[in-house]
């Protein structure tokens, strides 16, 4: 099963290879990995997605916690959380070609055009992994020249943000209620 794991780590020399090396040394795999700063100086956040059976995931979490400079490890998978990825797609769109069709897809997915030339667009879309994959699949027949995708970032829902999210986004509403039932 796919798991999304969030780590707070000391922002020190060699942290990334420590985490990545643990996975390769013990035969686990990292599907996606995002690293960035946090509000607090000296602490970085790593968000990773991985997969495995319950025993493997339990070991991954315990082994990550065991790393001396890892401050906190949270498996977000079993709690209410929001996940986002971003993709940039360079898609063929020649003048007189299917430019309008591409723009229709952009509207449907609430994506953005971030660069235009005579024969192509660069499109940007943010969403969860499934939404991004659907977007890419629909664009494929148009001719994808290049695609760049970030890994997943994720955040636990907190009570205060729940209300806000419920108002704005039906998709996350269903996801939230589903998670709460679990």
């Amino acid at each position: 099963m796919r798991h999304t794991i969030s780590l707070l780590v000391e922002d020190e020399y060699g942290m990334l290879p420590r985490v990545a090396g643990l996975f390769s040394a013990r035969g686990y795999s990292i599907d996606t990995l995002c690293v960035g700063p946090t509000l607090e100086d000296g602490i970085s956040r790593m968000t990773m997605t991985t997969h495995g059976n319950d025993q493997v995931i339990e070991q991954i979490i315990k082994q990550l916690r065991k790393l001396v400079k890892v401050i906190k490890v949270t498996d977000l998978t079993e709690r209410a959380h929001v996940e986002r990825e971003m993709v940039m797609v360079a898609v063929t769109a020649e003048v007189g070609g299917h430019r309008q069709e591409v723009l229709n897809i952009v509207n449907i997915f609430r994506a953005k055009v971030v660069d235009v030339s005579n024969d192509s667009f660069i499109l940007e879309l943010t969403g969860n992994a499934e939404k991004l994959q659907a977007f890419i699949d629909v664009l494929k027949p148009m001719g994808i020249k290049e695609m760049v995708r970030t890994g997943t970032v994720a955040m636990t829902r907190v009570a205060a943000t729940r209300v806000h999210q419920l108002k704005g986004n039906e998709e996350t509403f269903s996801q939230l209620t589903l998670n709460e039932k679990v």
Partner: protein
């Protein structure tokens, strides 16, 4: 007061109470060596003859005392030569701080002379490692390194010091305390889990107390004994823990696993409750996992949560320091017994175990003039009254010693259990003898492992370190040969090492006294003579060439499928 990094290292080591270090100089650590001989009254440095020996000596030192061992080597090849010793300390949870030289910071990454990415190379075999990038960080880094090496589940910590870090000056001040937000080992067990564990122990009909190296590290031997005696628990020790529970104790089952006793493995196989204290259910202990102790509930006490549930399913996990948790358990036992709980009658269980023990004991037999290796260990046990500190190398002699010496106290038995690194025995004994100069220290080694480490005879002679080296010489890589005999149709492929130096002459060439036994009748005399001679002595005992270690659980087989003879 301002001082250069090299001097800061010396002062920091003194603050940590370090008296002995094992090392080998080289370009990148010359500033440190420039200080070392000026402070030899405060820190005694032992010049090993190979960096691997420095790490094994530091391991033996740490394992014999519980204190953190210290090794110092240079950059590049100094560090890479030390890697086997670092990996050994990692696998066996030995507290060691390794200082390595590194090329100056401005040359790092330049493929400079004697440059190697030592923090990169050792990342997966250290508990943690550091590259010091500012001289102001040196003292706090050393403080952290010792803290991490010696607390929680102990292990090796490497501090890589670029040459300019030992040359630059700064004000020395050593932190008195340390607090790390990312590293706080759990010491106390969860009270609810402790209560459940004690209930299970009181009720069990066929319990086994299974004691591992974690109990040694935690200094929990007294608590282990109190627990075993209080609830009358048959007690087995892993290879790493031999001596933690006295072998002569009526409740002792000896060692379990691949070369464990028949009665021990049968007890595990039949048990309804296994209480693991600081052990990790490794493959040499469990045999085929899905057939391991199928009727048993498992209580697993470990300070390292990742050990729990890694190999076997655990009903009652308890995370905490073995000694602290056992103390909590002993208190809870009193409470439960006072409230009327009664320990299950286990006489049938003891009778069963005794029967197994009578059916298939370890055998030590004679074979005319030919020296039986088991007999040698038996004689060593008799002559030292099971009281010597014994280090072993890796192989058949290691297993015979583990089975037959009868260890009585913790930190008396040193060996490379997890990594199984040949070449460990001699330098580890050297480290132990430095730490415990008034005790008899014997290195029982094979002729293979001895040839991976005999350069340290020079170190031993130089400092007159009173190590007795006992070579169980069969002219084979014995354990390899045994597997080839049993599992590869006697195809002795490259395991015959009968072309070897004359070990007696070799020792004499180093200036060490040496004795030889080739006939059974000579063994006792040689042992007595060596043990009664002050200082280092080597014994070349030429034993039966094709003797096997029994019982043996074949690789991938269940414990009860052990081959007995």
């Amino acid at each position: 007061m301002k001082m250069r990094g090299a001097r800061i290292l010396i002062e920091a080591l003194r603050c940590e109470g370090v008296e002995h270090i094992f090392g080998y100089p080289g370009g990148a650590v010359l500033h440190v060596y420039d200080e070392l001989n000026q402070h030899s009254d405060r820190i005694k440095h032992y010049l090993v003859r190979h960096e691997q020996g420095a790490l094994f000596a530091a391991a033996g030192y740490a394992q014999a005392t519980g204190k953190t061992g210290v090794a110092l080597v240079t950059s590049g090849p100094g560090g890479t030569n030390a890697v086997t010793g670092i990996a050994n300390a990692f696998m066996d949870s030995i507290p060691i701080v390794v200082f390595t030289g590194q090329v100056p910071t401005h040359l790092i990454g330049n493929d400079a002379f004697q440059e190697a990415d030592l923090t990169g190379i050792t990342r997966s075999c250290t508990k943690h490692n550091y590259l010091v990038k500012h001289v102001e960080d040196l003292a706090p880094t050393i403080k952290e390194a010792f803290h991490i090496a010696g607390t929680g589940r102990p292990g090796p910590v490497l501090v890589d010091m670029p040459k300019d870090m030992t040359a630059q000056e700064t004000t020395f001040s050593y932190p008195e305390t340390i607090s790390m937000r990312s590293y706080k080992p759990t010491l106390h067990g969860h009270p609810g889990q402790i209560r459940r564990a004690v209930e299970a122990m009181i009720k069990a009909k066929r319990p086994v107390l299974y004691v591992g190296g974690g109990a040694v590290a935690a200094g929990a031997h007294q608590e282990v004994r109190l627990l075993a005696e209080k609830l009358r628990l048959p007690t087995t020790c892993t290879l790493m823990a031999l001596g933690t529970f006295p072998s002569s104790h009526p409740l002792s089952l000896g060692m379990l696993g691949m070369h464990g006793g028949y009665w021990t493995n049968m007890a595990i196989d039949t048990s309804d409750l296994i209480i693991s204290v600081g052990a990790r259910f490794d493959d040499r202990v469990t045999g085929k996992l899905d057939q391991f102790a199928q009727q048993a509930k498992i209580i697993h006490i470990d300070i390292d949560p990742s050990c729990i549930g890694k190999n076997v399913k655990t009903e009652i996990p308890v995370v905490g320091d073995a000694r602290t948790v056992l103390k909590q358990m002993l208190a809870d036992i009193e409470r439960q017994l006072e409230s009327g709980a009664r320990v299950t009658d286990r006489q049938p269980w003891f009778d069963q175990i005794d029967q197994w023990r009578k059916d298939h004991p370890f055998f030590v037999n004679d074979d005319g003039d030919v020296i039986k290796p088991q007999k040698v260990i038996h004689e060593l046990k008799r002559l030292t009254n099971s009281q010597a500190i014994v280090s072993a190398d890796v192989g058949q002699h290691q297993m015979w010693t583990a089975q037959l010496y009868g260890f009585e106290r913790p930190r008396q038995w040193l060996n490379s259990g997890g990594l199984g690194a040949m070449g460990y025995g001699v330098p580890a004994a050297m480290g132990a003898a430095v730490a415990r100069p008034n005790e008899t220290v014997v290195a029982v080694v094979g002729d293979g492992g001895f040839q991976m480490s005999f350069q340290e005879l020079a170190t031993i002679v130089e400092h007159n370190i009173p190590v007795k080296i006992l070579i169980i010489n069969n002219g084979y890589l014995g354990m390899v040969r045994q597997w080839q005999e049993q599992f590869y149709a006697r195809n002795y492929s490259y395991s015959d090492i009968n072309v070897a130096p004359d070990f007696v002459k070799l020792a004499e060439a180093f200036g060490m006294r040496a004795l030889r036994a080739t006939k059974s009748s000579e063994v006792t005399g040689v042992l007595e003579s060596a043990l009664n001679t002050p200082g280092p002595v080597l014994m070349d005992i030429q034993v039966a060439r094709e003797e096997n270690v029994f019982p043996i659980v074949p690789a991938g087989a269940a414990l009860k499928e052990m081959i007995l003879s």
